[in-house]
């Protein structure tokens, strides 16, 4: 099953490699990984998407907690949560296709943020599933480039992952 794990770690050099190294050394898979500093400069927040049986996920969480640089973490799968991923897509636009593409982008609540006579850059956020669905909708041959941030997430309600 797919799990989104949000991790608060010490904002130290090498912290990212400890997590990445753990996954490769123990043969866990990483579907995506994003990391950036938080409002507290001493902490960075990582969001990691992985797949595995319940036993494997349990081990992943224990092993992550064991890393000295990991301060706190949460498996978002265990709480009601919101998932978002950012995607930028550059698409070739033949004249007659431009209108149709624009309406598809509207349906997916995306934005066109760069226009040339022959291309659009589309910005879109949503769950990873939604972004997959958009990609499936447009003509594969027209896609020049896709960049995705990897999923991030946050729990709903008042409680949160903080110190």
């Amino acid at each position: 099953m797919r799990h989104i794990i949000a991790i608060l770690m010490e904002n130290e050099a090498g912290a990212l490699s400890r997590v990445a190294g753990l996954f490769s050394a123990r043969g866990y898979n990483i579907e995506s990984l994003t990391v950036a500093p938080t409002e507290d400069a001493s902490l960075s927040r990582m969001t990691l998407v992985t797949r595995g049986s319940e036993d494997v996920i349990e081990q992943i969480i224990k092993q992550l907690n064991k890393l000295i640089d990991v301060v706190k973490l949460i498996d978002l799968e265990e709480v009601v949560h919101i998932e978002r991923e950012l995607m930028l897509v550059k698409i070739k636009t033949a004249d007659k296709m431009r209108d149709e593409l624009r309406s598809v982008v509207d349906i997916f609540r995306g934005k066109i943020i760069d226009v040339t006579p022959a291309s659009y850059v589309i910005e879109m956020t949503g769950t990873s599933d939604k972004l997959d669905a958009f990609i499936a909708t447009v003509d594969k041959n027209s896609i020049i480039e896709v960049v995705r941030s990897g999923a991030t997430g946050i729990s709903r309600g008042e409680k949160g992952l903080h110190l």
């Binding site: 010490e10 050099a13 490699s17 190294g21 907690n65 064991k66 000295i68 990991v70 301060v71």
Partner: protein
Amino acid sequence: MELNGAQIVIQSLKDEGVEYIFGYPGGAVLHLYDAIFQQDDVKHILVRHEQGATHAADGYARSTGKPGVVLVTSGPGATNAVTGIATAYMDSIPMVVISGQVPSSVIGSDAFQEVDMVGITRPCVKHNFLVSDVTKIAETIKKAFYVATTGRPGPVVIDIPKDITAPDVKVPYHYPKKVEMRSYQPATTGNKAQIKKAIELLLTAQRPVIYSGGGVVLGNGSQELIELAHLLGYPVTQTLMGLGAFPSTDKQFIGMLGMHGTYEANMTMHESDLILAIGARFDDRVTGKLDLFCPYAKIIHVDIDPASISKTVKVDVPIVGEVKLVIRQLFEGLKDAKYKIDKKAAETWWQQINQWRSIQCLEFDRQSIAIKPQYVIEQLYQVTRGDAFVTSDVGQHQMWAAQYYPFDKPRRWINSGGLGTMGFGLPAAIGVKLAHPNADVACVTGDASIQMCIQELSTALQYKTPIKIINLNNSYMGMVRQWQEFSYESRYSHSYMETIPDFVKLAEAYGHVGIRIDKPEDVRAALEQAFAMKDRTVFLDILTDRTENVYPMIETGKSHHDMKLRVAIGTTTDRELS
């Protein structure tokens, strides 16, 4: 007090209470060696190879419970230490390794003797640090010792670029008394609800067994374990790493379990309906085939490391905490419990166990005209009155030492269990002897293993650490040969050494005493002679039965009740000595 970086490192070690540093100098640590030269409090032990430094520090740590300290230079010095660091990591040994690094300004430029030590050691340390500022040295060292010695212990590497230890930069020195880390809070006592569940299971079990591991030794829980086991009256089996935590001569002890465990220990595990696992990690050498592991048992697992629990075997009652504290909680809870142990069930269970015991799975041919390695270990036990520190290398001799030397105290049996590092025994023995100068220290080894760190014989002379090397010489890599005999139709691919050195001459060349023994009747006298030479390192080169195998054995893919036992005792009399 203003000190430079190198002085801060040494002063911090002193303030931490460090007695010995095991190390080897080189370019990146010259400032540090200069600081060592100018003081006498922290003693430096110069090894002959950095792997030896880590194993010696490891032996010191295992035998005392105090962290071992290592100092190596950058590049090859650092990489040579990696095997020893990984050895300590696999067996959860507290160790602090300081490695020199090239100056900060050239890091990343493939400078002379540069290697990414933090990157290389990441998977085999509990934690590591790269010190980026002279003002951070003391705090980093404090943190390193704190992390290495608390919770589940392990090695910590501190990589220090050369410029950070430069003599001309002085800063105020203060060694913190305490350190707190928001991201690291080891567990202490066990969860009360889980303890209650465990007590209920312990009191209702019909066929219980206590399975204890190295965690009881590391967590100083030996006394508590003995009291708990005696209160319950249940059989106790121990892992290779746990030996000595519960006295091997106690009648409740049923021997080591696992691949070369006793028939009674493995059968007891297999047939049990409740396993109380304490400080053990269900290692593959213990469990055999996982699908067939202890099919009837509920499992209570006590461990300081949550990640050890349900890693390979799903357990019913997990208890995270320090073994010492959790065992005490169990003990108190059992004393206060309303109902008592089912005495009748226990009696039936012990009858069954004693029947398994009666097979005498460790019996061997005592009439043999070739020296049986088992006999040597038995004699070693008698000559040292069961009270020696015994280090070992890895292979058949290691298993025989574990099987035939009944350890009654923790921290007496010093061996590389998890990583299985050949070359461990000799340097480890030096570390043990430094910590226990008045004790008998024996290194049980083999002709292949001993050659992997033989250069440390020179260290043993320099620091006058009189150890006794018991070399069970069969001219083979015995364990490899055994597996090839069992699983590869006796195709002995590269497990035979045709050019074994003359170990007697070699010992003498290093300034020690060498004795060769090739008859069973000479073993006892030679051992007595060796241990009587209190101030000399003695190398006993004992030519043993070359094709002897370690029994019992659970072969790969088999389970506890499917053991290979010695077939006909008393029939092997081949003497194949060269």
